[in-house]
Assembly symmetry: C2
């Protein structure tokens, strides 16, 4: 069997199945602290030294130059440019739809309350390096930053072996209006965003995926008052499939997650054990054609399929698991949406693969892993704004609400709080203001 | 002088002035780890032992009984009950106004994307003990939890010296529909919410203010996958006042913050140095009548007033400071709102004291301190929900968007991602589906 199978697991087994690998940030703490201190005192030079040491690349200037940016467009594959443009437009449309129109509420006569959104002024976007350029993540972070109207957007990514940044990264960044691109990766890049250097403007919040060093550095950044998007672990998919599902779609969706990395989490939930054989056959068949077959096999080795008696029990487990990506492969997919309580992003129906959301449907692909979908949303416009509350009280308002405030303040033994109301009411009396003002 | 004064401070001085006291969570790490381990293995009994040790109170049962809840209503001051009811209604009205109506977006023909809100199913509310019952914080956390529709709301608060919970806390909790009230405080209460015990249901997210032990425990909870509302430091007010302001209002607002605790942050910003003398006189005068005078004086000792040349420079400083509470005492208050970029909650105009928002205007009083208003919002309905993204793709949709997805996937060297699209397009070809389907 490609996937271990569990039929109607009991409570204890279910509790085991929803476990994810624990992060080991604590073990890296000393190294991260050293890197932070060296970047804080050494700035650009310290980051360049770490880039030589960790990435094996000597960098003359950390910032990508305007010439490099111009060149990038010339070296980009035309088909890829068009694809990025389509994805950009879809991601833009969806994140623009998240703009909120503030509503004023008069909670008491003369007491108006409302929220207004403001962009986070300075943000840092981390784009990992690795075997391929993750231009899709540039769009996923750069577009909502643009919709929010962040003043200063800094993108940082490890240089390629020739010291350059891949044209697709540069093009996607340009598309999002990002003009500061830094050639640095790892904890040293995060430290640069926290403290600022000659080349790197400091930021208030840091976004983006990364390996364990980057994650540990983002947690460390919080000690310096710099916020982060999400705690992140290995990527996950949970596929719900039933008798109406197509085994080749089920297998392809499981494999598209499995190829991410050997630690990818791959889970199949079904109320119908008859589908498993067909899925197994398709997994075997499709694996033979997969370039990243070795990686996928290692991920599948700790993946599993669970069979439940009915739809309801299946969804109880799914909500307990709280998957990052949740694909519903069923004729009844839409009927099941009210049952979804915990998930990052949901893919509804046979023709909606996860890869659509990874790249181009318009939804964000930066999502909560490791069961954080129980309490966290994925990245959205909200991640790049603050909602500030406002209140404005009129003469009538303070006269009507004053007693309530003063009573509560006195019972919390905060007489000064009551006094702040009383000086105003006393003043109004001297002015002869009446309650109908 | 009650307040140190700075006139047109330079960049370096401004950088000093916006500094806040650093949290010392790291120093408590060993103690917190010990408490967590003991509560994880010892459950209720471990929490009771800590309650004896730290609070000096022996508790027979951690959960408040239904009899205690019934009794509470009988022992509550009538005036206070009415005040809580008014505040409840206002807080409810404002947080209900934050409910979002999801909008579906068709980003490409046949590609629908939308967000849906879901409550965080299990939440824990921490209400500190101390000299007075903080029933207002019960409303500020309990009301949005109720609006969100959280299934399991657990309130935990240190018992009073007689082993009871104050009737005002119980009444406010009842008002919010909270039926599990736990007599426990400190890091042991937070550990109970993380692991669950016989008396305490485990939760996914923990909210509420607290001392350094509670804050360190909330940070520790994140290691176990339990989220928290906000990093919290000492409370703050920044008052902007100009020639149109009333010195007695300015002084009263500064004092209402100063009386919170000796570490409270109290700042006055003005473009007009002429107002300072009047404010100083009022501070002296009003202090004499303040029961918590000693505390307020200690807070004022590290507070300050800053004079800037003009409104613009004043607001640049205010945004850099990013105050938790920001009061604008000026005839022109509303004109200045577009200048506010970083703040927790804003009090607009002469008749809007901070204490209105602390208790009853309807806005939330759980707000970002320590300059976190640069990147964090205060607690709101959003804090109790997740926004899950959904996408549904039709035959036409996958045919139109398929090439874009496959091109991007191949350039990120994720062939399996492309394959998940290709199996669907191949299937549709065998079915003779055409592009207009």
């Amino acid at each position: 069997m490609m996937l271990k199978q569990y039929v109607n697991p009991g409570e204890q087994r279910k509790a085991q199945l929803v476990q994810r690998p624990r992060m080991e940030a604590a073990e890296l703490a000393d190294l991260i602290t050293t890197i932070f201190h060296r970047v804080q005192s050494g700035g650009d030079e310290a980051i360049k030294e770490y880039t030589t040491q960790f990435d094996g690349v000597d960098i003359a200037e950390l910032q990508v130059t305007s010439e490099e940016i111009e060149q990038a467009a010339l070296h980009l594959d035309d088909e890829l440019r068009r694809a990025i443009d389509v994805a950009y437009a879809n991601i833009m449309a969806f994140h623009q739809s998240q703009i909120n129109i503030p509503r004023k509420v008069e909670t008491t006569e003369g007491v108006e309350c409302w929220q207004e959104s403001r962009p986070i002024e300075r943000v840092g976007l981390y784009i990992p390096g690795g075997s391929a350029p993750l231009f899709s993540t540039v769009l996923m972070l750069g577009v909502p930053a643009r919709v929010a109207g962040c003043d200063q957007v800094v993108l940082t990514t490890p240089p390629q072996q020739d010291g350059s940044v891949h044209p697709a990264i540069i093009y996607a960044a340009q598309r999002c209006g990002i003009d500061v691109i830094i050639k640095a990766g790892g904890a040293q890049a995060i430290a640069g965003l926290v403290f600022g250097t000659t080349s790197i403007p400091p930021v208030y919040k840091i976004y983006g995926p990364g390996n364990q060093y980057v994650m540990a550095a983002k947690l460390k950044a919080m000690d310096y008052g710099v916020a982060m998007d999400l705690p992140a672990g290995p990527s996950e998919v949970l596929v719900y499939a039933d008798a109406s599902s197509h085994p080749e779609f089920v297998a392809a969706d499981l494999l598209s997650q499995a190829e991410h990395g050997p630690d990818s989490q791959v889970v199949l939930v079904t109320p119908d054990h008859h589908i498993l054989e067909g899925v197994e056959n398709q997994l075997r068949l499709q694996l033979t054609e997969l370039p990243r077959r070795d990686i996928a096999e290692r991920a599948l080795a700790h993946g599993y399929a669970v069979v439940f008696e009915d739809v309801e029990r299946s969804f109880d487990f799914i909500n307990e698991y709280a998957p990052e990506h949740f694909i519903i492969l069923s004729d009844n997919a839409e009927d099941y949406l009210p049952l979804v309580r915990n998930a990052g992003s949901v893919f509804v129906g046979h023709l909606t693969p996860e890869s659509a959301g990874d790249y181009a449907s318009g939804t964000n692909h930066t999502l909560p892993t490791a069961a954080y979908a129980r309490s966290y949303s994925g990245v959205s416009l909200d991640s790049f704004i603050k909602k500030i509350t406002f209140q404005k009280i009129s003469t009538a308002g303070i006269q009507k609400l004053g007693d309530t405030i003063m009573t509560m303040a006195r019972h919390e033994q905060l007489q000064g709080h009551a006094q702040a109301v009383k000086v105003r009411i006393d003043y109004l009396k001297t002015q002869g203001a009446n309650e109908d003002a």
